[in-house]
């Protein structure tokens, strides 16, 4: 592995690690609030935490599909559709 490639790999691993730890905290405490472990919330408060968690979920999917090299399910499906279209033509 070349030096730039090694540094790039290390940076990717570092970013993935740090972002996953931050997401883990958002996930844990968001669910703690939603589940009422820190007391009951109003409907409006619950809705806002849901929005927060849904957006954290989007970040996780981006993380899975980029930094960790896991194929993006949507992109993978599009790619399969392109292959099928190509076979059909």
């Amino acid at each position: 592995m070349t030096e730039p490639a090694r540094r790039s790999s290390e940076l990717t691993a570092y970013l993935s690690h740090e972002l996953r730890n931050a997401l883990a905290c958002i996930h844990q405490f968001g669910n703690i609030l939603v589940d009422g472990l820190a007391g009951e919330m109003s409907g409006e408060q619950r809705e806002y935490v849901h929005i927060m968690l849904e957006n954290a979920s989007k970040i996780r999917k981006v993380l899975d599909s980029t930094l960790d090299g896991t194929p993006d399910p949507i992109e993978e499906s599009n790619e399969q559709n392109r292959r099928v279209s190509k076979l059909e033509t």
Partner: protein, 138 residues
């Protein structure tokens, strides 16, 4: 019946607190360690029924902790669940080879974590319904 004791080993204080709240709500007693050295010391002191172990730790990583636990007969039998932000590609295999019962990548799914804990402790499957985000999941 006494609560099962779980040692949470993670250098992130927020993660430790979040896990403590979730496990306490499920009737587990928790203890904590923030580095590899303290992990073994707390395991010796409290003799937990299970260890939840991060891999990236000060004073030696999670693999070092598993090695050290293995060297003490009464600690070697404690099931270990690895919960790490590291990628699962090589670490999952390595964790299993080191004796871990499971490898979960952060952010963890609460329902999955609880199911793995119950399985490792030989408890019956829980009745807790996963939250919306446990099914997605964040």
């Amino acid at each position: 019946m006494d609560s099962k004791k779980i040692l949470i080993v993670d250098d992130n204080a927020d993660i430790r607190l979040g896990m403590h709240l979730r496990l306490k709500a499920n009737q587990y007693e928790t203890f904590f360690a923030a580095d590899a050295f303290a992990a073994v010391a707390e395991a010796r002191k409290h003799r937990p029924d299970l260890v939840i172990l991060d891999l990236g730790l000060p004073a030696g990583d999670g693999f070092t902790v598993m090695e050290r636990l293995k060297q003490v007969p009464f600690l070697a039998v404690i099931p270990v669940i690895v919960v790490s932000a590291r990628d699962g590609l090589g670490n999952q295999k390595r964790a299993h080879e080191a004796g871990a019962k499971a490898f979960l990548q952060k952010p963890v799914n609460d329902a999955e974590l609880l199911a793995v804990i119950r399985q490792a402790l030989g408890e019956p499957a829980g009745t807790k319904k996963p939250t919306l985000y446990d099914q997605g999941s964040v």
